[in-house]
Amino acid sequence: MSAPRESAVRLGVLFPDLLGTYGDGGNALVLAQRLAWRGLGVDVVTVAAGEAAPDSCDLYLVGGGEDGPQVQATRELAESRALHRAVDRGAVVLAVCAGMQILGHRFPDATGADRPGLGLLDCDTVRVDRPRAVGELLTTEASVPDPSGPPGATLDLGVLTGFENHAGRTVPGPGSTPLASVEIGEGNGDGSEGVVCGRVVGTYLHGPVLARNPRLADLLLGWVVGADALTPLDDHEVDDLRTERLRAARSHELAPRRSWRDLLRRS
């Protein structure tokens, strides 16, 4: 997997028309540009709802979205099993929010009923009797197991920053590793954030997550093209953004709170 590549990286963007409510389409742009800036070829394959998902991509992106479209996306991927075949082959997947939920074993639909997920991440998403998690999400130093390294080897990502907005909570199973621990915010709901199984990464971080966390972007790209192919980029503007967001999160500037309008409506 880490040998220098001749061919362009094939980037599969799954159902952005169904799962793209929170700007997660930006993750594809970030990956494509970070390849292009390094002179590496990239071929973005956008799969709209109703179209057949290819099983030949190197890296797949599944974004966040609303309850109804989430169910439709799951149905299409469960029927075609294209993503299952790709993952068996070693393809990399980044699944955000609703995308992470549908990649697990089960998730609640709009009525609260359990729906079977795709089973590509060992986790369950459940509905809880707590307010929706909405606000800045900041993790402690994140690391993921190195899928091609010796046992126990990890790849470090620094702290992860983003914005979360979800009702369900996700319970990682024994066959998975959380991406990070939560410093500020809700994340999975048990103090952890995200789920990693091999090269499949799930997270609640929007922002989009790869725009705010370029090391995570390069980790995913490194799994495809080899870390050695990833020459350093000038990320000083992202550093400025991260500094500003970390400060905001730590001063609880955007702590989840109910607006007075919500309160007014209830009275």
Partner: protein, 501 residues
Amino acid sequence: MESPTTATVGRVSAAVVDERAARITIVARTAEETSPNATATRQMRLGPPATAPLLAVPVTGGQPTGPPVTGSIRLVVSPAHPSPTTGLPTRARLAVATGRAVAGASKLVHFGSGSVIGGRAALLVDRDLLRQLTRARDVVIVSATNGKTTTTRLIGAALGTDRPVVSNSLGANMTPGIVAALGMADPAATAVLEVDERWVEDVLGATGAGTVVLLNLSRDQLDRTQEVRKLAERWRRALTATPPTRVVANADDPLVTWAASAAPEVIWVATGQDWNADAAGCPNCSGRIAFEPGAWRCTGCDLARPTPDVTVDDGGVVLPTGRVPLDLGLPGRVNRVNAAFALATATALGADPSAAAAAAGAVREVAGRYRVATLAGLPVRLLLAKNPAGWHEALDLIAPAPAPVVVAINARIADGHDPSWLWDVAYERLAGRLVVATGERRHDLAVRLRYAGVEHVTVAEITEAVRRAAASPGHVPGAVVDVAANYTAFQEYLDLVGGPR
């Protein structure tokens, strides 16, 4: 108890006891309730926010981070114009008077215009006030994600050609702001009301509006508003529960079409809207909607684009009664569409098409949008764009490259705290010029522009940002610099150039 003599409302005093503790006491006396030997007093004491939060939070223009305001305020209100409350029950009149008093008090302590807090106080006195204030009027409700303020204004102008009109023209578009506006107005004037997407149910239920105008629904304020499908469901439910005489609705927005089709009579407007990113899933059956130029249909059920009754062309609007030429003062395709909604609405209510078109055409700015003003000694044009669908239209309005542009992004509560929608906007279209990124979330914008391959700089302060834009090689001396801002940034700059008029 109704009294024919309404001039004397009497004395109303309001005491803000402790703003921070959300405790407020309103004491109001009315002449009608006052006998020579006794004083009737209504006193309400609100508990902590959890139980009665109505007056707990500083509103529009407030300074939540400033020092707490304590102490008491006492004022006497002498109604100058008795007419707005003529014919209303005593309780409603008391409510209106209370609202005005509290609005005045709020103004005194610099919480803003006071219309929202005043409206909330009025509603405390009479929960049914909106119904009372609209019993004797024609009511038009205008709602949408984008364009509701502008379209409300255009409808007001078009209808104003042959009748008195009242509108919540400062954009306070929930029930409190609406009752505040109506409480000041001629009781027979036609009410043209901009209504927040989430408040359509309440306002339609209370007013029994005869006309409902539904423009569009798309993602907005991601962290706060509900999913757009749920909004469409609520609109549909509202139109079923309180059917208006007519709905004027967008035939090119599947979410709006589905909601509006619950109404008995719909005037369909062809908008040519090509922002469809939020409507791929059918609101009726969760199937997939297939779009082609000038048509859309669900692949899973029979929801499809209705045959339009109203269309827009370059120089006019084709109404069911014939084509009306339109020379519009507001720029852009999107405003021709807004004007089409306005003319369709006004002519359905009996206005003369030519007079209505002339009046709508004469509108040059709406609550500061499109205003050309002077900032940092330079001419600037203020544009509001606050979500992807709005930006999609705004990118057509902005002066073409190489003219520089200032883009301002905030993410306060009224903007939504999550600006990740910046990645849904095709900022690539700004290439070939300098973009000056400003506002509190300029760093988010800078990262977006870097990945879009657009030349940019970040500048913290707006006047400096305008100067920086004017210093760029693409700027023609004397040319107007476009400043495109999202909601709270726009309001801030509008205040800098003199506020709404």
